[in-house]
Subunit: 352 residues, 4 copies
Amino acid sequence: MVKVGIIGATGYAGGELVRLLKNHKYAQIVWYGSRSYIDKKYHQVYQNMFRIVEDVCRDDNLEEMADQVDVIFTATPQGFLAGLLKEELLSKVKIVDLSADYRIKDVSVYEKWYGIEHKSPQFIPEAVYGLCEINRDKVTPATRLIANPGCYTTCSILTAYPLVKEGVIDVDTLIIDAKSGTSGAGRGAKVQNLFCEVNENMKAYGVASHRHTPEIEEQLGYAAGRGVTLSFTPHLVPMNRGILVTEYASLRRNPDGSLPSYEEIRAVYDRYYGKEHFVRVLDKDVCPETKWVEGSNYVDIGFVVDERTGRIIMMGALDNLVKGAAGQAVQNMNLLFGLEESEGLDLIPCFP
Amino acid sequence: MVKVGIIGATGYAGGELVRLLKNHKYAQIVWYGSRSYIDKKYHQVYQNMFRIVEDVCRDDNLEEMADQVDVIFTATPQGFLAGLLKEELLSKVKIVDLSADYRIKDVSVYEKWYGIEHKSPQFIPEAVYGLCEINRDKVTPATRLIANPGCYTTCSILTAYPLVKEGVIDVDTLIIDAKSGTSGAGRGAKVQNLFCEVNENMKAYGVASHRHTPEIEEQLGYAAGRGVTLSFTPHLVPMNRGILVTEYASLRRNPDGSLPSYEEIRAVYDRYYGKEHFVRVLDKDVCPETKWVEGSNYVDIGFVVDERTGRIIMMGALDNLVKGAAGQAVQNMNLLFGLEESEGLDLIPCFP
Amino acid sequence: MVKVGIIGATGYAGGELVRLLKNHKYAQIVWYGSRSYIDKKYHQVYQNMFRIVEDVCRDDNLEEMADQVDVIFTATPQGFLAGLLKEELLSKVKIVDLSADYRIKDVSVYEKWYGIEHKSPQFIPEAVYGLCEINRDKVTPATRLIANPGCYTTCSILTAYPLVKEGVIDVDTLIIDAKSGTSGAGRGAKVQNLFCEVNENMKAYGVASHRHTPEIEEQLGYAAGRGVTLSFTPHLVPMNRGILVTEYASLRRNPDGSLPSYEEIRAVYDRYYGKEHFVRVLDKDVCPETKWVEGSNYVDIGFVVDERTGRIIMMGALDNLVKGAAGQAVQNMNLLFGLEESEGLDLIPCFP
Amino acid sequence: MVKVGIIGATGYAGGELVRLLKNHKYAQIVWYGSRSYIDKKYHQVYQNMFRIVEDVCRDDNLEEMADQVDVIFTATPQGFLAGLLKEELLSKVKIVDLSADYRIKDVSVYEKWYGIEHKSPQFIPEAVYGLCEINRDKVTPATRLIANPGCYTTCSILTAYPLVKEGVIDVDTLIIDAKSGTSGAGRGAKVQNLFCEVNENMKAYGVASHRHTPEIEEQLGYAAGRGVTLSFTPHLVPMNRGILVTEYASLRRNPDGSLPSYEEIRAVYDRYYGKEHFVRVLDKDVCPETKWVEGSNYVDIGFVVDERTGRIIMMGALDNLVKGAAGQAVQNMNLLFGLEESEGLDLIPCFP
């Protein structure tokens, strides 16, 4: 039984970790960390857990927690873990960090986009970017620190990855228009996330400046084998869960000037994802919808070849709290402890 | 392994049956009946089931189905099963009927409220009203026909049942104000259920005439030991899932004129529901919220004693597609086949 | 031209006052008071007002404001106006108070339900409860202080008023089940009003203890000619605007034991509301829907006589920010200044 | 007084025409055409119009209507007007067509994208594309036939127009990612537009094949002075009203390789829209939100220059039923009859 500690257990991602881990055969949560609700019963914060979780929220003492658990999930604001991480900790416990602290290898890029100083850059090289479909071989029982990918990022990268890797698209033309449900904004009490501000409304935000941009660029850069600069625009949508990305890129033409066919591109996707448990490449002419993955760890991908413009339109959908956060974290945990990768994650999407 | 056939598998309740049964250790769906989508892959109707269900939709041939399955779920319009049911069928297969055809013992009441003739009233006496928390002893491997309770009904009855049964409230004063998400209206293409008609809107409907009224009255009548007439008003709410009932009744005063205390009433609830797996009586001063039961088979109940008016306000919440339809149907199936009552139903509510 | 000052101009009710007054032929807002946004352009807070309002937010200096305006609207928390009101102010300016400070004549009732001390009870007798349809004769150019009714209250009272006044119903049996959109909760940054907490969710709150209860009881008490105690339960609904009340009461039977007919009751409603501009008694069998009054100053009323239970179910719907707050306030302003009562309020409801 | 006839008065665009025209000083609706509701009172279809519209729905007899009105609005499916239009009609009455029948000058393009034969192509040359901000000089009292632009189209074109016209962007790189509320899908009873299918969901549709594409290309082609081929992807969003477009294009660099600055581009926008009543170019760093234009005839535009990619991200928002349909139609009507262009359209957006 893997003993688990969660820091930030009463945020939305933390709450989803609890939901998933309570269904996990080989994991047991022994520490519900929540600075805001210390000594309060967890189910008084999330009444859906009434009669399911009897534990009390505790503070976020990493040191003490490390003595009691096998793995710590940090569902915390940027900079939290970086400010506390020490070799001593990592020698005792594995850490899956849901924040961005160890996702970006170039610390100056991190500091520029996040606007904070990184307090423990020495651990960045060791951290594994936990996008299992791409980095599975690096997430092993020997791994100590996982940088769990962001929600926008996971969806954006997986949707384009095979085509970037195989040079099917011209990566310099890549534009990612992303739409997210509101749980991605977290549970902080902010006016802009009030029901009346979000409902019946839609907007772009963080245009040309959103922090997930360099993370996508770095990972797709590895695939492309060179630096990548792209456009990423997130939008806020009046729904709780779900991310949909619509990605545009020019297709590389064949030597005879023709475009690759649907079938050729499909074959590329299938080569990468045909055996992936959590990536579903949809049938031709089926566009992903966020509701079809809600509550599950799936990423649904579809694409259309546009003969008129020579572009491909790729679409991806996932549940930002599952594959975009807690589900992916559990998927990483499974690999870290040599468990079946899908353990606890065979969740059927709920419709409607 | 229990072999299952579903008639109406592509309606919302049918789709939920599929979601639940795919998670059930001892059940296997062998017939996805859907007259509207014959020969179409089930996952083409509900893309959330892509890569999960590979079966094709078939017609609704009860006779043939009865030869292939152990239990049939009929998630069909009123009158469908009543028009086809025969002794021969029941001798081969158990039936859990999600329609109202066999819920009401007095066929004239059924015919009056539903406005249709009942074609097979001879099976009404045999049918067991499958509200397991109340009729558990009658849902046994010997039972052949289950009348699966309605969504409004389940919530309305369970919320008031112990207090009616124990005479804590004056049942003649009982008023049930119920609010439902829109999936309760089904998947039929009707203007009044379009997104733009329901969103940002709320209304009562079926006022003093809704068909679930006599079902509630009959069941609470058994509890009261006499006929019950009550007010039931359903409302349509802009959300997918969830029913909330707010019930008002005058408390019976003690001989000294005092009202029963919160603790006394609580004790009554606990006596009935303390050991129930799917009924959660919330802590004092906690009001049920539909989101806290979403996706699960729970009914959450809370209540407030109003000293000023001498009334009690009882509140209940459930997911209309789970405990209000498919979940309850599976719960009945489990009992019909001697399985653990909660098998396949340990679903943790999803929040947010 | 009536010069207007608003305190709390950046709350939801304040914002609606601005929307309505910008359309008003004879009113001009000269002071946008908003302590939180002093010196910020109003349209930077509410971008819908871009190019429509160029003014800057100012503080809430009542004294200074009184020298510059003819009427002050206070869209402020309970206790604000009571703490500042002085004879000197009222001698210079009319005040329409959207808070509850002067709505309840018995100060001890106010202090009990609101849990705060009333700092200027001496003005309570003078304040006119500004429910124009009932108190129109008291809202005159001689009036100085209007207690603008609450949103739940306006809807609850108007829906039942004629039947209470005429003794058609037994007021002791009156139960009000009210449902409100989320803008009624205001623009404060609170976790429970976040999109993800409200969306796809429904709950009762303030059960048997909501502060609008005594206000409804007082006004219906005047109609009944005696003290009234009733049940009032508010619910939060995932929509921005709109209040729907469903009210239950036993009908008084005729001497021969029969119930009053639909037509008889309809005649009572028509007698009271037939000439009212803003009250629409709907046709038989039509139930009010909140969307049909959205953005307008209408109250829609419908009712059903239930022969089975001897009860009447009355339903009322309004837009909580218009007839439930800002619209009613402007209606009062119009009467205070001898203008056409409907000036600036002929707003056609927006659908969908 | 302009006498108006509406065909399709009970669709969503038709309903919005009624809302706007009831507020119009110089227009009077004398014919509410609705084949589906003949002889039914209009307010029985749209109860928001109770006590506002007393008229009865009539059939859609164009000939007879033409004798009674000065202008006909056709809010009808594609092909309806094209199948009936004759010189005789146009000689009697002006027509504002809200369908696509006369929007595209090249009939073969129309027939290819719409998949129907055009029955009266002889009127295409005469029809004026009624995007007033661009074609104002052609919408005059001498004009007989207006092709009222589509909702996606209006937003897409106006957002990019000045930059295309002035060669600021490379039009071959233009990508339009559009998001729409559900009222754009009309009031037809279709499963895919049911509340439960749309709510908590988001998807792209009509990818690389949506019918508004050639309309956008044609109009921007006039601006560019040459043929334009672009990517246009519409998405369905769970809200009633509102369109948001996010447009991406590479900026043309200055001779020295630098990008045009924000201020330079802003100056271009201001030159085109500075005096436009209904186009609001927002302040720097403000992104449009659909809620800020809801219920109004405004288009809000914002943009960000992305130094990293050399692209500009342009954003536009409007209410699809107002500026995207009925509002624009009334704007055209005003010009057709020599009225003030904004008459009846000074609608303040409603928030929240």
